[in-house]
């Protein structure tokens, strides 16, 4: 399992390294007198790539066994990240359009899906409490210029 993880790590690094080098090659290396904008990224990405190769090779030498994954376990595993990250994205989409109260409430509601079997009533109450509390702290308390509520688009 550790070897598999290392293999993935190495490959991820190689992927990132390649991406940065490819995009960065257009920026120009420049001369020693005037280093171009591409110099640092390409050098650094190359170092990253070399490390990626080293880690991958080490992993392969240690012998890799693929873990057996079941679909149901994978889905259960993905639940929390999707719920949490999804709630943040929803906030970014709704904060300007609908205001702080709605956006915060949605964050609470959607992120609660991260755990299976949550009490709906608890979620609703928590949404109201937290969005209200946030309004008190951030807008009334600290004086942040954030719109609380807005209905039309």
């Amino acid at each position: 399992m550790t070897a598999f993880r290392d293999l993935l790590s190495g490959l991820v690094l190689l992927l990132l390294s390649a991406a940065f080098i490819i995009v960065g090659s257009g920026y120009g290396l420049g001369t020693p007198l005037r280093l171009g904008p591409g110099f640092l990224p390409i050098v650094t990405a190359s170092i990253l790539g070399i490390i990626g190769i080293a880690i991958t090779v080490n992993a392969l030498r240690a012998g890799v066994t693929l873990p057996d994954t079941q679909l149901s376990r994978t889905i259960a595993f993905l639940r929390a990240p999707i719920a949490i990250l999804g709630s943040i994205i929803v906030f970014s989409l709704t904060i300007n359009r609908f205001g702080l109260l709605v956006a915060s409430a949605l964050v609470v509601a959607i992120s609660s899906l991260a755990e299976p079997g949550t009490n709906i009533i608890r979620v609703v109450i928590l949404s109201i409490v937290l969005s209200g509390g946030a309004a008190v702290i951030f807008v009334f308390g600290l004086g942040l210029p954030i719109r609380l509520f807005r209905w039309w688009g």
Binding site: M1, T2, R5, L8, S9, V12, L13, L16, F20, V23, G24, Y27, T31, P32, L33, R34, L35, G36, P37, L40, P41, T44, A45, I47, L48, I51, G52, A54, I55, A80, P81, I84, L85, I88, I89, F91, S92, L93, I95, N96, L100, A103, S104, V107, V108, S111, S112, A114, E115, L126, L130, S131, G133, A134, F138, L142, G143, L144, P145, I146
Partner: protein, 503 residues
Amino acid sequence: MSFIENIALGFQVAFTTQALLFCFIGVFIGTFIGVLPGLGSVAGLSMLLPLTYHLPPSAAIIMLAGIYYGAQYGGSIASILLNLPGSPSSAVACLDGHPMSQQGRAGVALLMTTVASFIGATIGIFLVAVFGPALATVGLAFGAAEYSMLLLTALFAAGAIAQGSVLRGLAMVALGVLLGAVGTDITTGIRRYTLEIPELADGIPLVVLALGMFGLAEVIGRLTDKDAQTSKHARVSLRSMIPTREDVGRSVRPIARGAGVGSFFGTLPGTGVTLSAFMAYAIEKRVSSTPERFGKGAIEGITAPEAANNSAAQTAFIPTLTLGVPGDASMALLLGALMIHGIPPGPQFVGQHPDLFWGLIISFWIGNVLLAILNVPLIGMWVQLLRIPYHYLFPAILVFVCIGIYSVSNSSFDVTIVAVFGLIGYVMRLLRFEVAPLLIGFILGPMVEENLRRALTISRGDPMIFIDSPLSAAFVALFVIILLWTLRGTWRKPRPQQNQTIE
């Protein structure tokens, strides 16, 4: 004026009712802002700056300064208790502070943090008072070549913070440097890696990176790992806050070292509290006879960085006040406040406004005393936070993170990116990569590049400039030594021990 007379003058200015009042307000707000994730001292200062326009200059600066160093105290509270940094400089407190909290020693961690912060700040203030103007010349001795070599060494040392293999740590530093390159290149004006997105022209905000990778990734990680949720040691009594003799003994030298590191980096223009905290951690780990304890609740791992960032917060005033060069964004705001009040900082500052200068210094110390007094009883309250079941806590954390990030530039785009980095941070967590080295690479990378280019422009392309100056050559030598030492270490033991549980 003799030193004693100066101190007396300072006490006169700082002990007026108004000065004390605003000092208190400042440190109180500062701590609060520091605790809230996403809202660092920069956001707090920019929000409260307009309020100070109508105050006399001394009161205004005293309050703003209080917010600034108060935030350093507060930031570590969230780091220790929730593994969620309140500000980027507190991210390092997560590394050992949170494990301590999980071992039921949250109270001890918080208390030692406060103590270390206070001592660090006191040492920093002392240095400002005694050496202030003289220390300014140290900052001046650092030209582009010296800076670039110093920071390059620091970058490499950052790879050493990693608990796993140094290779992985360095990979993260490299990735951090690359992420730091995203945005507009200062020297040429070309946009790099912005993928045609206009909001990225200014680069990725530090607080977004830090909060996404440390904070969000942590929340996701906690929810997928069922065992990590219930805090087994919810009971906290006054007794459990008291550190053992061993704790205290172990912390004396780290605090001293941390304060030294912080004072040094605080004085240098351009480097600030975040860097000081991380460097102190790296140094502690390097000089410790038992480095494997780090990351698992070693008390040195929090006392050194906390002493460092608080002493850096104080000594950062040296270049700001005596040279007019701010160390970081918060200092820049304070500088702006001074100028708004018609008091330009610079070499004339101490001479023309001795009452303000010394009044500030004494007031800094009063502020730290207030903070220590305020924070200690509150520790019990903070620890109660741990008893809240996580399913109430994590939505609150998310709301605070969202609003905190949004409030930095009223930008919903920033909130989107924090989600992206949350994902990246989580993936890194799964692959057992560490975030701390990445953060350092992100901060230092652009600075290394800028100074490297500047040095080569000054020398007209001649690389010998890096060895010409004794200071620069010293750093090059240091870099080579650390490099060889690290390689030797990797050569001896084929694979460092990794106590990783398989998921």
